[in-house]
Amino acid sequence: MDFEDSTDEAAFRGRARAFLAANAQLKSEAKPVSRGRHIRAEEIALAKDWQARKYAAGFAGITWPKRWGGLELPPIFTVIYQQEEEAYAVPRGVFEIGLGMCIPTMMAYATPEQLERYVGPALRGEEVWCQLFSEPAGGSDVAALRTKAERDGTDWVINGQKIWTSGAHYCDFGIIVTRSDPTVPKHAGLTFFFLDMKSPGVECRPIKQISGTSQFNEVFFTDVRVPDAQRLGAVGAGWKVSITTLMNERLAIGDVPRPDVTDLVALAKMIDLDGAPAINNSAVRERIAEWHCRTQGLKFTRFRTMTALSRGQTPGPENSIAKVVNASKLQDIASYGLDLMGAAGMVMDDDLAPLHALFQEGLMFSPGLRIAGGTDEILRNIIAERVLNLPGDIRVDKDKAFNQVSHGKR
């Protein structure tokens, strides 16, 4: 075993390091940021600028075909770039969905002319994309979505509501899955499109989250016309296309959300517990050790995945544990950090709360992380069914026409 890069990998890592050092600020030198904060207009501008610089320097679309502006390198190089970028406080949260999920779906289903038009601007950070899947009635059971698409000449007319769409209010384009036929079982009646978010009849309303901020939107569709030429995949094949999108979601490797164990160690050194630094207390030490082992376990699990990628193999299923471990760990560390502070733990004032209220923000942000991108429960089902080969759940709606399935009141 070793942690050495191949010659090509080392050269690429060196270029990435030089680029980042010259163009970005280290996280350790920047004010800590939790992921729960609202993205403001000036931050979108910064994110666009950062994406453009990444593209110019050759660190965007690392695995994508050269024809569309990519570098056509194996997936290991994306991981190497992400590893290096993790240490830097660069704008995050604007392009991940578009470049990680929307454009890859386009590449699988759009025409060459459409790709010519859309891939370049997305990769250069000029246009932002969002994904319109979840609905009030279709969360974990996303195929139960109800937004209607009806054929009208060479157009489709879309009516309905999407929810939990990150950044819909500043996105230029979106990919959407709709119900085109309610008389067949739910997976068979879906059709997939991409659309201009500025189309008449599209209305975005921010959702105020428990953290008080708004990262997500409700998006309402009222007689929105989308040309049939913007259909991705066959009529009724929307579920298959959605799977392409979701598979790409699983390839995205997330950074470790903060506050992490390092932050907790820093806090435990600052806080006094019974007349001594909390880090000396054996109960505190046990908890720190447990979270350290989970954090390192995920890090080295990622190394195992990287090893497979580096050898040109398909990684095993081990990385599927990452989000489910990270989300709960974040919530538990944040809550424990507040406990250590005692009554002052409730104070979120940026000047008074240790580490600029990072723990308090984490507490209020972490419930969302356990739900977004697959709930803890859905992810456990996926591990049980796809990794352990346990039977699927009973699905009473599987063979019924969608409009004959009971829907409940919520």
Binding site: M1, D2, F3, E4, D5, E9, I76, V261, T262, L264, V265, I279, S282, R285, E286, I288, A289, E290, H292, C293, R294, Q296, G297, L298, K299, F300, T301, F303, R304, M306, T307, A308, S310, E318, I321, V324, V325, E377, L379, R380, N381, I383, A384, E385, V387, L388, N389, L390, P391, G392, D393, I394
Partner: protein
């Protein structure tokens, strides 16, 4: 990035798994568990003949020179089979202690015997309840004779050489090697949670013993031995935890209740997903431990403690939820679930319990100043 065992070691793993599937079935484990013998002699001899005992012992000392990554691979298979042999005592503890602390003469004299399985070694640190700590070791070496009490001592009934955490006449901590064949020791077998891996109480009363390593460095040497053993035992633990998950998953696919396999219910699916998660975290931490052990890296204390904490947690979870998934059948003597439940606890205690190692994780974090 090359964070996986080499192809050669993967082959060794496959060979070991095939050999143990034939020569170490649950029938073999039960023979020791039920008190027919103190270990499986035929299996022990087989392991010696195949070079497993000397895997990490250098060729110049009669070993196979495969390195510690090779020993890690074997440890996982031994853990999968819950093998009833004194492998961990003789190899991870005694032979490692001689390699760490022994003089060149001691290495030349002793390691060959461990590698060949002629000698069974062990390490005695515990003196009743409590975890290892400086100043806690009371047996005294004076004039080449050791006196004092140690329990529980793994394989203390069958071992002929015993590394003992002791003190010299000046009260300094030392490691000594006691020759249990020479008399001056009374051994009492103890009733334990896992009789397949017997433990003894040893009363030394003028037992012939020689010093291992420098006087005053006894505790530091013991810590080094325990760090190394922690990685190797972690591989036994993840081997056992993997088998528990496989058993539980197979049973959940075959056992029907309310008209369908119980593995189709989320109460079982989510439980087993949690076991999978804990096992993967433990495996990844153990791999880092293997790297640190093989390269004798500065990160070894942190890597070893993290590997041990993760492995203790994973094996405990997997072995108890394996019984739970099997329902009433899992609670019977006839089902094999309890072999792993017993072993998970024994391995979780034998070199100090999880709390001790959690504390060591934070010690190492503070030393390295990098969480």
């Amino acid at each position: 990035m090359n964070f996986e065992f080499s192809d050669d070691l993967m082959q060794l793993r496959d060979q070991a798994r095939r050999y143990l599937a034939e020569h170490c079935t649950s029938k073999h484990v039960r023979a020791v568990l039920e008190g027919e013998k103190s270990y499986d002699g035929a299996l022990w001899q087989g392991m010696a003949d195949m070079g497993w005992l000397g895997a990490a012992i250098g060729e110049e000392y009669g070993g196979a020179g495969l390195g510690h990554e090779g020993l890690c691979v074997l440890a996982e298979e031994i853990g999968r089979a819950a093998a009833p042999v004194p492998f961990s005592s003789s190899i991870y503890l005694a032979a490692e202690a001689v390699m760490i602390a022994g003089s060149e003469e001691q290495k030349r004299r002793l390691l060959r015997g461990f590698a060949a399985g002629m000698h069974i070694g062990t390490l005695a640190w515990a003196e009743g309840s409590g975890n290892p700590r400086v100043g806690a070791f009371t047996p005294r070496l004076a004039g080449g004779k050791l006196s004092g009490v140690k329990w529980p001592v793994p394989d203390g009934g069958s071992a002929d050489l015993c590394v003992v955490a002791a003190q010299n006449e000046a009260g300094q901590p030392i490691l000594v090697l006691a020759d249990l064949r020479a008399g001056g020791v009374t051994r009492t077998m103890l009733e334990t949670v896992d009789p397949a891996r017997p433990q003894a109480r040893l009363v030394f009363d003028g037992c012939a013993a020689e010093q291992l390593g420098a006087a005053g460095e006894g505790f530091a040497l013991l810590e080094r031995v325990l760090n190394r053993a922690a990685v190797l035992i972690a591989f036994e633990q993840i081997g056992g935890a993997s088998v528990c998950l496989e058993m539980a998953t197979a049973y959940a696919q075959e056992r029907y209740a309310f008209g369908r396999p119980i593995g189709g219910y989320q109460a079982i699916k989510h439980k087993l997903a949690d076991v999978y998660i804990a096992n993967e975290l433990a495996r990844s931490n153990a791999y880092f431990g293997a790297w640190a052990l093989q390269t004798d890296a500065a990160e070894l204390p942190l890597a070893a403690a993290s590997a041990r904490v993760s492995a203790c947690e994973a094996y405990h979870l997997a072995s108890k939820e394996n019984i739970q998934t099997h329902g009433g059948m899992g609670f019977t003597w006839a089902a094999d679930c309890h072999l792993y439940y017993r072993r998970s606890k024994l391995l979780g205690l034998t070199i100090g319990s999880a709390g001790f190692w959690k504390n060591r994780v934070v010690d190492a974090l503070q030393t390295s100043n990098a969480a």
